[in-house]
Symmetry: C2
Subunit: 210 residues, 2 copies
């Protein structure tokens, strides 16, 4: 599919065909495409809990306004944003620094400076921790929804769930914010696709205050 077909064709769908599975290899291909998203200092503060088992999906659905798509979709993802991903000692942050050493982009003497910059940009306040993790995980989640569409699948991003209850149910550690759930599957062909919702125009998006 062309990029334009994907971006204009993606729609949050409410009805998934429970009979049409999303094979693991296909889901992995989608996740790998999504992982190409950029992130500050390449920290990649995103993770996924992949739910396929019906009972697992029902455990989630009961904390997600009982939205039936959570269990009807063959796969529902709990998207996690690591609010502590910027911290020295985090294995992915350490890998980042090591890769920068390997490529010559940084030298060992810059290690403390690098930790300090990460902390000041991403860890200096609760607001910065949430902003850093949710923005970057937003890049990843958007890429994932588009990647799914490019392979003929549909998705539905959901905010309607009880974060604390989902955290408790799946024993998700406190360092993760849960920005959204995404159901992934094939559109149920006996349903009608709703038309695209309205969007802000370019003139409504572009602002200036000074």
């Amino acid at each position: 599919m062309t990029f334009k077909d994907v971006i204009y064709g993606r729609r949050a769908v409410n009805f998934f065909d429970p009979e049409k599975d999303v094979p693991e290899l296909l889901l992995n291909e989608i996740i790998e495409m999504a992982s190409q998203a950029p992130s500050g200092f390449n920290i990649q503060p995103w993770s996924l809990i992949v739910l396929r088992d019906y009972d697992d999906k029902m455990r989630l659905q009961k904390h997600a306004w009982n939205q039936s798509k959570v269990s009807e979709a063959p796969v529902t993802l709990i998207v996690l944003a690591d609010t502590e991903g910027w911290r020295a000692g985090n294995p992915f942050l350490e890998k980042d620094f090591q890769e920068m050493l390997n490529s010559g982009a940084m030298v060992e003497e810059q290690r403390q400076w690098f930790y300090g910059v990460c902390e000041s940009l991403y860890g200096a306040s609760e607001a910065r921790k949430i902003a850093f993790s949710c923005k970057n995980t937003g890049f990843f989640a958007m890429s994932l929804m588009l990647a799914a569409k490019s392979l003929g699948l549909d998705t539905h991003p959901m905010d309607g769930f009880d974060i604390d209850a989902v955290r408790g149910e799946f024993k998700i550690p406190d360092n993760y914010w849960i920005p959204l759930l995404i159901s992934v599957g094939y559109f149920k062909s006996d349903q009608k696709r709703t038309p695209s919702k309205w969007r802000k125009t370019v003139d409504e998006i572009v602002v200036r205050f000074d």
Copy 2:
């Protein structure tokens, strides 16, 4: 371009050709594609300040670690996330509710319920306000970077700037978080593209705690 070419081809580039402009119509096409991003209740809490003028870009650059790409790129965007976009009275939220009335998705009696849900999901705490606005604006910004790539342009998302100083310089109201800057332009052809950075594998992304 195919979607796969776009997602694997996008790279944060450091060198933009200052001689190759991004015409307004082309930028508008990119913004319109990006505006197809989903958002909670279609609230679309994103805005852009578009800087083209050299002096304007230098006003930004001085608060952005003096990164020369800010002024070398023909266009640099200040991306804004409205932390108050969920609030009753916000014109886009009101338009959303009106559109739902028009389509029959909601009835007038659900107005207070709708306001309440938006507040509880997106406005109940400082963390939720930041998460809501930055996640959705992350969807928009990711779509914008991919849309630019699909039309032959390159981008560079930046976190290295002083939020408060940029806010003051461009008189940006307090309800906006500034999640990132994005430079947009054509890659400077006498420079070398750096290879892709490492990415977490699918096995590193998929987690389970229970």
